[in-house]
Amino acid sequence: MASADEIAAQQFSDTVAACRPQIFRFLLASTRDPDLAETLTQECFLKAHRSWSQFRGESTAMTWLMRIAINLQKDHWRNRRLQFWRHASTSAVDVDEASHWLPSRESSPEQQLLAREKVAHVWRAVRDLSERQRTVFLLRFVEEMELSEIAQSTGLSEGTVKAHLSRALARVRAELGGKR
């Protein structure tokens, strides 16, 4: 019969397997840096492992992990702002390069090109958003989280989340409208 520790370890392992792609994807979209996203994802799960015993299940594991990831990301940007010379060593990809990733649907080359251009515009708008607006936007429109989940993950009220989302959308709309 498995001990409580073994069960907890198994539960944590299952959670990692289930949530890792989503956490990594969120961090990748936030930073546009695969190496940094990988590092932050590992740090996120390391931190989660350390405090796994304190997780009471009041929110979903994904919401809890996303909160850790958002805080790690915030810490990273804060440190980076202080250590401005680290900008030289960034490996973040350009928004145009990021927009090249599109699933190969059954569409014509022209449609693919058009879609790619629109994705590039959205990337540009996302790049210029504030950190909070970007986080809320990505959680809503890439991870398709509910407003209540976003509020739990970010520690903001639902009203604030809505306001950030509304501003972010206005920015995206303007970017798409201006280049249309």
């Binding site: 994807r25 979209a29 990988e38 990733w101 959308l169």
Partner: protein
């Protein structure tokens, strides 16, 4: 909660946000698909830990080489300067020595010339011509009578 109720709840919750025009919806859908495709490609790629280590190792190696080159350059410059200083000192010492030798040589020549002149004087004075002997005699008498 059935799906209709859930939809109604979400529709009410996002009424102001999700009143999106089809083009914006399409763009956001493509954006989501793009991020998912990128994320899937990156998450399944070989881990970059080793790559990072290699890059760091390269940086370390490059830094070490650069530091070594700088240190070697500094040491070489110092040695060259020291060598140049020594060469200059030796040249100055050689010049001083040559000057001293020259002075000694000139002094010796002067002494030799003086000796030679003195010898000539002495020889000339000893070899007084016989025709002048009476005069010399008179001069010596003249000095003794005074």
């Amino acid at each position: 909660m059935n799906s209709d109720q859930e939809f109604a709840k979400h529709a009410g919750q996002h009424a102001d946000i999700e009143a999106l025009d089809p083009e914006l919806q399409q763009a956001l859908g493509d954006f989501k698909a793009s991020v998912h495709a990128w994320g899937d490609a990156m998450v399944s790629r070989p881990r970059t830990v080793q790559h990072t280590v290699v890059r760091r190792a390269w940086r370390l190696a490059a830094g070490t080489v650069l530091a070594s080159v700088l240190i070697a350059g500094a040491v070489t410059a110092e040695l060259y300067e020291h060598h140049e200083h020594q060469v200059q000192q030796a040249r100055i010492a050689a010049e001083h020595k040559a000057e001293e030798q020259q002075r000694a040589l000139e002094a010796q020549r002067a002494r030799e010339d003086q000796d030679l002149l003195a010898k000539v004087d002495s020889d000339v004075s000893r070899e007084v011509p016989s025709a002048l002997e009476p005069l010399a005699y008179l001069m010596s008498d003249d000095t003794t009578t005074k």
